[in-house]
């Protein structure tokens, strides 16, 4: 006979979820819920037995896990009713819960590497805490799950994966989509597998306790498969299963059996729970929702910008980067470098990490070819108070990281109502010019700018990369740093052009400008990243041959564009009357379009604008074709020549 307190907790979970369904039918809830009615004991057994300092990651079906771990069913109810006093201010609601070390998210599988990352953070800090992760059987279809299983096994991370096998994914029966056996999948990675079911409650409680103990003791992952069944629809009214089948499981359901065997006790427990729930729900029915002002921090007001001369060092950019990261690892033990092939002696495809793993072995981690997982792991590290720097070998591969960037890193802070920060840093080299061909040469920056809460900065050869990275390190939200393959090997040297002043602004991410010493410029060129070198090389020809005296403004933070940057650009355009934006990606819906549109919105003066960008084609390997596709000197010259005629 199961412990009465645990039964009471299971009944509480069920009554809370049933009250959600009622509130829905009364039109008092916004959105949707996925109930775990029938599966409560999985929550009670695992989430109920971990320690406060442990962490839990869950999915869309997370109410039970949450209640068992936090015991805060009222915070959950308020959340799901959309109230400001809810645990996430009503922002997250049913599938985006966060409280203490509890996190859930609505992307199947996406949270798996994040859990691994937090487990790694705990292990590195030596806290002895473990991570408990719930996934459904349907989620075994997600590739990132296997990337992560591989890594947690290899890295020996204290992660307990509980797979709740209710034999359905939304409307689809397992047999239709699942090949092979579930336990074999985990075993293939050398992970211990244990199995239980929610119909044997005592066995389940004991097994769960043992799994938790083992993970803690060995600091290794464990895969615990729990057979269970969901009695209610996937969410609401979307059940296509045969009623007889459901009826069969209803009879076997532990709470129903308890009810049949202890009718009056059950009624007493339920009456007590219902009374308290009703009272609480009534009390918050008219409570406030979160206001926009309290949800979103408005942008900082513009500061006064001052300028100082850029001090060039004549060192190669890659050496400056290497020097910066060495000093960073030395002074900040929470800084961690991750990436493919970054160990010595190789040091990464572009050698930024050269020798660092020899000097700081604990802080440099080479990873399998698993971009999605390592991005998610970096997210987890960031949630766990570390400062991960993830190197994505080629910019083109960033597409594989996008789910972790957009649905996880970007959203955590706001969807959990600002309870957490995710200061992940992703560095990646974009750009062509080396003949690497279509999947190793593209500039995909336009897909990275405009993601909420994600700062995108780009290095260039008119600024010391350390100036940029010092601020990147201080950022508390996700940052993507766009580097460039060709720039790595170039020197941070003063361009030989005479009579120009090269200055950087006092902004957090400095804007660099090249301005004629005295004369008023006749054009404003705005750019970022790698094209800087080429533009600088073109300046003397523009001046001497074409009578154009440009001011060059090089933006380092390309998203978001702050007030100061926009003011600097607008002032320059008002003075020159010509705005030319140069970028290496293609023009449509890119940085250039944004800059031009924004400046138009800020000035009453009319000005001429042009975008200079590469052709919207996969970048060819062959030399001539590649250079025809990518932006080049000729395009800059011809754009200005056409403007002049």
């Amino acid at each position: 006979m199961v412990d009465l307190e645990l039964m009471k907790e299971a009944i509480l979970i069920r009554r809370v979820e049933e009250s959600f369904l009622e509130l829905f039918s009364q039109g008092k809830l916004n959105g949707t819920v996925h109930t775990c009615i029938g599966q409560e004991f999985s929550a009670v057994a695992f989430a109920g037995q971990v320690r406060k300092e442990d962490s839990i990651f869950s999915n869309h079906r997370c109410h039970g896990h949450f209640i068992s771990f936090t015991k805060d069913h009222e915070g959950l109810i308020a959340e799901i009713m959309g109230k400001e006093i809810g645990i996430c201010g009503g922002v997250g609601s049913s599938q985006h819960l966060c409280r203490n070390n509890f996190f859930s998210n609505g992307i199947q599988g996406g949270i798996v590497p994040v859990a691994a990352g937090l487990a790694l953070a705990g292990k590195m800090k030596g806290t002895g805490a473990i991570c408990l992760l719930f996934i459904g059987d349907g989620t075994l279809g997600e590739g990132v799950v296997y990337e992560t299983l591989n890594i947690v096994s290899k890295w020996e991370l204290p992660l307990l994966i509980v797979c709740e096998n209710n034999r359905y994914a939304q409307s689809t029966e397992q047999a239709l989509n699942l090949a092979g056996s579930i336990p074999d999948r985990a075993r293939a990675f050398g992970i211990e597998v244990r199995e239980s079911s929610t119909w044997d409650m005592d066995g389940l409680i004991a097994d769960a306790g043992e799994s938790i103990r083992r993970v803690r003791a060995t600091s290794r992952p464990l895969f615990h498969l729990v057979e269970t069944y969901r009695l209610a629809p996937h969410s609401k009214g979307d059940d296509t299963r045969h009623p007889d089948e459901i009826e069969e499981y209803r009879r076997r359901d532990p709470i129903n059996r308890f009810k049949d065997e202890n009718n009056s006790l059950y009624d007493e427990i339920v009456a007590g729970i219902d009374g308290r729930l009703k009272k609480f729900i009534d009390s918050i029915l008219f409570a406030d929702e979160l206001s926009l002002e309290n949800y979103h921090e408005s942008a900082e007001p513009a500061k006064l910008v001052s300028w100082s001369d850029v001090e060039f060092s004549d060192m190669r950019q890659v050496d400056l980067l290497n020097r910066f990261f060495a000093s960073l690892l030395e002074r900040d033990r929470s800084a961690l470098l991750l990436g493919e092939d970054i160990l010595a002696p190789y040091g990464g495809a572009f050698k930024v990490m050269k020798e660092l793993s020899t000097r700081y072995p604990d802080q440099v981690r080479t990873t399998p070819i698993s971009e999605q997982a390592i991005t998610g792991i970096s997210n987890g590290l960031a949630l766990g108070g570390m400062k991960p720097y993830l190197e994505i070998m080629f910019g083109d591969f960033i597409t594989l990281c996008l789910d972790q960037i957009i649905n996880h890193a970007s959203k955590f802070h706001h969807m959990y109502n600002r309870q957490v920060f995710c200061p992940i840093v992703i560095r990646t080299p974009m750009g062509g010019g080396r003949g690497y061909g279509p999947t190793h040469s593209q500039t995909l920056d336009k897909f990275l700018i405009g993601i909420d809460n994600v700062t995108v900065v780009a290095l260039n050869l008119l600024i010391d990369p350390a100036d940029i990275y010092e601020q990147v390190h201080a950022e508390e939200h996700p940052v993507i740093v766009i580097e460039n393959k060709l720039d790595y090997g170039r020197k941070f040297s003063r361009p030989p052009l005479k009579n120009y002043r090269i200055e950087k602004s006092s902004q957090l991410f400095p804007l660099t400008r090249m301005r004629p010493l005295r004369s008023r410029p006749t054009a404003t060129i705005v750019t970022y990243g790698a094209p800087v070198t080429m533009i600088v090389d073109t300046l003397s020809e523009l001046i001497l041959e074409y009578d154009i005296l440009p001011e060059l403004l090089v933006v380092s933070r390309i998203h978001p564009l702050d007030e100061e940057t926009l003011r600097i650009i607008t002032d320059s355009v008002e003075e020159s009357g010509v705005l030319v934006v140069v970028e290496e990606g293609s023009a449509f819906a890119g940085f250039g379009s944004e800059v031009i549109a924004t400046v138009h919105g800020r000035t009453a003066k009319s000005f001429v604008s042009r975008r200079i960008a590469s052709l919207p084609l996969p970048i060819a390997s062959s030399r001539t074709l590649e250079s025809e596709i990518l932006i080049g000197r000729n395009q800059i010259i011809s754009t200005f020549r056409d403007l002049q005629q």
């Binding site: 361009p495 009578d547 005629q645």
Partner: protein, 428 residues
């Protein structure tokens, strides 16, 4: 100083971002002749020697061992050593702001150099500049007023397609720089398609006779008198001393009449400053001086800049009538044709920018000018009378010289006129 050849770091292979200067064989200030080996550079592929393509003075932009980016200048060949510059540590306020070690030597755009050459402006006037663009030269040439207006709302004309030619059928010879500059100058207003022209004839027979008797340096040209009268009228007809810019009319404050001359030394417009307040005698003398200096290549930049209205005189070529083109930053130009010997008339044409003025105004202007010009022959009429058609000696003069009077004859045009005894005999 003019740049004769500019040598850039060449792009020899796609891979090279830079080249190395491995050897320098010349120094700044050194005079070199065409084909002198100047320097040697190293690309990722090979060592490369670079030669001068003309004679001139060297100005180095690199040092031995330097790594120079492709496209950056390595060396310039100029037509003269740079003039002495102001002390770089001088107390010019702009200098004071400069970062240490940066002394300004102005860099000139090609168009600026063309204008400088065209108008003979001294480059030393730009010593305090960092860069010299066409606009800076134009400013010195007196068209600065329009600059701000233009800059606030630039007008962009889409590029014209290059004309396609069949080299089998034609020989293509590129235009000279001067001609191209001239085209740009003239296109400014005439390409608007909104210019027009009005003509008027003045009775000039007696006028020339008056001129011949006067003490003018130009006994056979209406130019001084026309300049004198036109400039006074321009005070009244301000639109003709103005120009169109940015949907506005910019009125010149001064009346500086330019006189177009083309006598072997190329087309130049000589400026008579403040013509409206200068006495006729002085105008006459100044114009003579200017032409003298034109012939001797001694023109100063100011002599050919800053005109606000132009007079073009093709009388010497015997033309009956022509359509002059309005100059940049002006609204009108007066054309003077030769006298029709039968009708004794000179045709004056006035081309004008219709965006600034109109036919009626120009008509009134010309009529008034005609009246003023013809008034001279009335004044000179008393002394008039019959003259020798060849030497223009009057009957009175002939009497003073104890000649025997004038003989009537039929000249080769079939007109009846007079001839004196000296000329009849075939000249003195």
């Amino acid at each position: 100083m003019n740049i004769l050849q500019k040598i850039f770091a060449p792009k020899e292979t796609v891979n090279d971002e830079t080249v190395y200067v491995t050897a320098l064989y010349v120094n700044t200030g050194e005079f070199v002749t065409s084909e002198t080996l100047l320097l040697e550079i190293e690309t990722s592929k090979a060592l490369l020697g670079i030669q001068a393509e003309c004679d001139g003075y060297v100005e180095l932009c690199c040092r031995q061992g330097d790594e120079i980016r492709i496209g950056e200048p390595l060396l310039l060949i100029t037509d003269g050593v740079e003039e002495e510059r102001a002390d770089p540590e001088g107390d010019s306020p702009a200098d004071a702001e400069l970062p240490p070690g940066i002394a300004i030597a102005p860099l000139f755009s090609r168009r600026a150099l063309e204008l400088i050459e065209l108008h003979g402006v001294a480059t030393s006037r730009f010593d305090q500049h960092d860069f010299v663009l066409a606009r800076d030269v134009e400013e010195i040439l007196g068209v600065g007023a329009a600059k701000e207006l233009i800059n606030s709302d630039p007008v962009v004309i889409p590029p014209r397609p290059e004309p396609e030619v069949d080299n089998g059928l034609v020989d293509v010879i590129p235009l000279s720089r001067t001609k191209k500059t001239e085209i740009r100058y003239l296109s400014d207003i005439n390409s608007s398609g909104l210019t027009s022209m009005v003509a008027i004839s003045i009775e000039a027979d007696a006028l020339f006779r008056v001129l011949a008797r006067g003490s003018s340096y130009f006994s056979e040209s209406l130019l001084p008198l026309l300049t004198y009268e036109t400039s006074r009228l321009l005070k009244k007809y301000r639109e003709l001393n103005a120009f169109f810019v940015d949907n506005s009319i910019a009125f010149h404050k001064a009346v500086n009449v330019g006189v177009a001359v083309d006598m072997e030394k190329g087309l130049k417009v000589l400026t008579l400053y403040q013509a409206d307040t200068t006495p006729l005698k002085e105008l006459d003398r100044t114009l003579f001086d200017l032409i003298d200096r034109y012939c001797e290549n001694r023109l100063e930049p100011a002599d050919t800049s800053g005109s606000t209205f132009t007079i073009s005189d093709l009388a010497a070529y015997g033309v009956d009538f022509f359509l002059p083109l309005v100059n940049s930053r002006q609204s009108a130009i007066l054309g003077v044709s030769a006298m029709d010997l039968k009708l004794k008339r000179v045709c004056l044409t006035l081309s004008f920018d219709h965006r600034v003025t109109d036919g009626k105004t120009v008509g009134l202007f010309l009529a008034e000018l005609k009246g003023r010009m013809e008034s001279y022959q009335a004044a000179g009429g008393e002394e008039g009378g019959e003259r020798c058609g060849v030497c223009l000696k009057s009957l009175a003069e002939d009497a003073r010289l104890s000649g025997f009077g004038l003989v009537q004859r039929l000249n080769h045009r079939g007109d009846v006129d007079y001839i004196c005894a000296v000329c009849l005999r075939g000249g003195a």
